[in-house]
Amino acid sequence: MSTLGVVVQVVLLIVVAPYLVGVMRQVRARLEGRAGAGAGQPWRDLRKLFRKEPMSPAGSSWVFVAAPAVLVASTLVIAAVSPFVATVSPLDGVADLFAVVALLLLGTVALALAGLDTGTAFGGMGASREMTVAALAEPTILLAGFALSARVGSTNLSAIVERGQQSPGAVLSPATLLAAVALAVVVVAEAGRLPVDNPSTHLELTMIHEAMVLEYAGRDLALVEFASALRLTVLLGLWANLFLPWGVATTASAPALLLGVVAFVAKVAVLGAVLAAGEVFMAKLRLFRVPELLAGSFLFGVLAVSSSFFLA
């Protein structure tokens, strides 16, 4: 039964991820006074891209070809092991916060190497920037994880979520709130959203994530786009379940799983809409002010840890 939970969860994430991007674009379009293409547009884009021919730039290697698959695979593993719909998983040993963070980083690295492998200036630029942001976001993630796990005594994601469900009051503790703010900044940075990166920019010089994938075409591009949608869903889902753990199934029964699915979709949709609406009010930060933002989130991480200790 717990295997069923995993399958449900993975399929759900795969289906939902492009829709989440669609919803976010739609929210943005409405706020800008446009009609918007509808929430299903990313799926239409993907369907078309999967049918197009993939292309390799001359002089690139197997790294370029393999990177999208590695990116999707690493994200799928996270989708399978983390507690999005249910906390019961046969893959319990992998559902560790640090392992999930490292897997996310693995995907980033695969894409950065592909960006360098194309041999274009833009690819290298995107890779360099992406790695800088990822490196500087790392301390915040681990410190916020530290603050969350200090209460539970474990970095196992399911354990953290279950503890959150058992003592709802603790979610409002200063440590958790500070960690939530710190992780929110990091989620924005890792997902490549405003104000760190602009996902819909056309200007190469301001790109981070987009610059790395400029050379991808056809189904390679489909994989990359799908992976970035899946990563966004995974990040928002993790954030939601760490800080708003309600509705996550703790048993593998069908009604509990159903409730878990509904709760997950609702949480992610709301968070996505809030994020998209927030982006309307924001401009992209200069690249060299991004470290300041991340340093700020690091500060919140430190405060989260110290308040979990000093105010305990």
């Binding site: 390799s56 593993v77 492998d117 196992n156």
Partner: protein, 666 residues
């Protein structure tokens, strides 16, 4: 085989190998030296594995050294390091066969087996004299190996001078510490030291002295300055041996003296180790992330990893001093596991860098590139090492960093203010180190091996000979083994911890497929992660295989002319954002030369941009010391005027002073 015979084997093969390498001509020399080095390594591994299996060995040979006896004691702690060094030596020896084929110098090749033998015997030493003699032999032999290519590049000599000075300064500190220890303890065998009853002040003085000495060998900031110079300049098998094996002996010394012979000690010792480790890790990775010389990058990465190991050991010692043995043993086990992992991947990386150097003559990442199609095997193997060094799953570095973080995180409940401040900062340091480490190795692999070649040398690179590839494959296999089954090392690590009386506490980790920690909640499964990645990857490939075939097309250059390799991102440009973010720490020097046309100052003929990132710690700390040394030298040189009578008078004076001191203290 018993440990004793294995150690005899080490000595015999090293001697035969050295003689053989001296005797053979330039054609077979690399083969003889390589095979005998590997043989010495095999015996080292045998000795180490039997010690880790629970066998103990102790032997005293009187009167082998003047005024002292030679004692050899091997316990599980020694065994771990013997096995580690032996393993690295097997791989480096095999690699040397191809690498030095036809151009290895007589001295360099014949000293290689001796160097390995000295390193294997250092942890087997059972008394102070034996230890110091072997330590000095190791230092001298490695110095000569560093200098092996001094005829080819003048920079080698500079590196040699730095290495000689630093390693001997370290030796003086260790010598002072251990001699003080032995004199206060009234005996020089390790057993006598262990049983000695000393005042806390004495013990602290001994610990600080010894820590400085071993710290310099471990490449700890600010005593690391020799490392990024000596490692790049040494021949690559020697770099691998030094970086993967020799620096670990610094760790051995800290563990042996601090936790075993001195038996733990107050908390501030270990806080010192923790802080030194943290600073080294951060500084090392920062320098590595902006380095453009591939071997220098790897050298700084060694400083970083030794820093992480010492951070773990320091935190472990701190918890052990507080009486929390569960965490103490976990953190020290994490440090030891990371030492093994680092030995594995750093060997692989230095050998990979050696292959690149041999094929192109370049260490400069800015001029490399395009090796993925020219040296596919080397590229793939270097990639395995880089993955491990970046501490990403499924590489082996990930597991030990995970253990380290688990230990640090679980220290918070029940802690006092010092721990409560130290642990979050330590986690922050480890995390930033991990993040920057990833950026560093993406740079090394991405700009060094991928894309198109940035110079003619790189464009003309040829794949290395089979023996070199085989040696690297062995190293990669070791890394893979460590990555997949770290839990199988559990019993061995438990035995090592048993040799350290203050942290002894059952086995810190167990499990098969899933690695579980004992005493605290935490589990991870490297096998499942690997399997999950594999299955998911396969799924993706199978699902999207349909459709139109792949087409190759020119790189999209916005419709302009063909993109020149000079337009590619280089390692310098890759590291530029990081250089900017950390410019307060790194203080890079920029140089922009603009040449104008002779006809008009408004037309520019060429622009030259240079950036240098020097080691700021070195620039800040060493010149004053060197200046003071020069001044002292100038004063002392007045004593020497060439007159024999003056020298005799000095000798007499010295003798009188010694006698007076003896007379007064007796």
């Amino acid at each position: 085989m018993s440990i004793g015979w294995a150690l005899v084997g080490v000595l015999v093969i090293a001697g035969l190998g050295a003689l053989g390498a001296v005797a053979t001509g330039s054609r077979g020399r690399a083969l003889v030296a390589g095979v005998s080095t590997a043989g010495v390594g095999v015996f080292g591994v045998l000795a180490g594995v039997s010690a880790l299996g629970g066998e103990a060995f102790s032997k005293t040979i009187p009167q082998l050294l003047p005024l002292s006896e030679v004692t050899v004691t091997v316990d599980a702690l020694s065994g771990l390091f013997c096995a580690l060094i032996g393993g690295v030596a097997v791989i480096a020896g095999l690699y040397n066969i191809g690498y030095s084929d036809g151009h290895g110098s007589r001295t360099g090749q014949s000293l290689l087996p001796l160097f390995v033998a000295a390193m294997i015997l250092v942890p087997a030493a059972g008394n102070v004299t034996t230890f110091l003699v072997l330590w000095e032999v190791m230092a001298l032999v490695s110095l000569m190996l560093v200098l092996a290519e001094h005829r080819l590049r003048p920079s080698v000599r500079d590196a040699g001078v730095w290495y000689a000075a630093m390693t001997h300064a370290g030796l003086v500190a260790i010598l002072l510490g251990l001699v003080l220890f032995a004199s206060k303890a009234g005996g020089e065998s390790f057993t006598a030291l262990r049983d000695a009853d000393l005042s806390t002040t004495t013990r602290s003085v001994i610990f600080v002295l010894v820590f400085v000495g071993f710290g310099s060998k471990a490449g700890m900031v600010p005593l690391h300055v020799w490392l990024p110079r000596a490692h790049p300049e040494a021949p690559s098998p020697v770099s691998a041996l030094m970086s993967a094996a020799m620096v670990k002996l610094g760790l051995y010394g800290v563990l042996r003296v601090g936790l075993d012979l001195l038996g733990g000690g107050p908390r501030w010792w270990w806080l010192l180790v923790l802080v030194a480790g943290g600073v080294s890790a951060l500084f090392g990775v920062l320098q590595a992330s902006v380095a453009v010389d591939l071997k220098r990058l790897l050298g700084y990465s060694t400083t970083e990893n030794m820093g992480l190991i010492l951070l773990g050991v320091g935190a472990g010692g701190m918890f052990a001093a507080d009486g929390n043995r569960t965490l103490g043993s976990l953190l020290i086990a994490a440090g030891l596991l990371h030492a093994l992992n680092h030995a594995g991947f750093k060997t692989l990386l230095f050998l990979g860098a050696g292959s690149v150097l041999r094929a192109t003559g370049l260490r400069d990442l800015d001029r490399l590139g395009g090796l993925v199609s020219r040296m596919p095997a080397t590229t793939a193997l270097f990639g395995v090492g880089a993955l491990a060094a970046a501490a990403l799953p499924p590489g082996n570095g990930f597991v030990s960093e995970w253990l380290l973080l688990q230990g640090l995180i679980h220290g918070l409940p029940g802690a006092d203010a010092v721990v409560a401040v130290a642990m979050p900062l330590a986690v922050g340091v480890v995390a930033l180190t991990a993040g920057l480490g990833v950026a560093t190795f993406v740079k090394a692999f991405g700009t060094g091996f991928l894309a198109r070649p940035r110079s003619e040398e790189a464009a003309g690179a040829k794949e290395s000979p089979r023996t070199m590839r085989f040696a690297m494959l062995v190293a990669a296999a070791v890394c893979a083994g460590l990555a997949i089954s770290p839990a199988s090392l559990g019993p061995a690590l438990t035995r090592v911890l048993e040799a350290l009386p203050t942290v002894r506490d059952g086995s810190p980790l167990e499990g098969g497929v899933t690695l579980r920690l004992t005493g605290i909640a935490g589990s991870i499964s490297p096998v499942l992660i690997l399997a999950g990645l594999f299955v998911a990857g396969l799924l993706v490939v199978v699902l999207v295989r349909r459709g139109l075939p792949r087409r190759e097309s020119l790189v999209w250059g916005c419709g302009g002319t063909r993109l020149d390799p000079r337009m590619e991102y280089t390692a310098t440009s890759f590291a530029e954002p990081l250089t900017r973010v950390f410019d307060d720490v790194l203080r890079p020097e920029h140089d922009v030369d603009v040449t104008h046309h002779a006809e008009s100052q408004y037309l520019i003929e060429s622009v030259r941009y240079r950036q240098r990132v020097d080691d700021r710690v070195e620039a800040a700390l060493y010149p004053p010391v060197l200046a003071a040394g020069n001044k002292l030298g100038a004063v002392l040189s007045r004593l020497q005027n060439g007159s024999v009578h003056r020298y005799l008078a000095l000798g007499l004076g010295g003798l009188i002073v010694v006698l007076v001191v003896v007379g007064l203290t007796a």
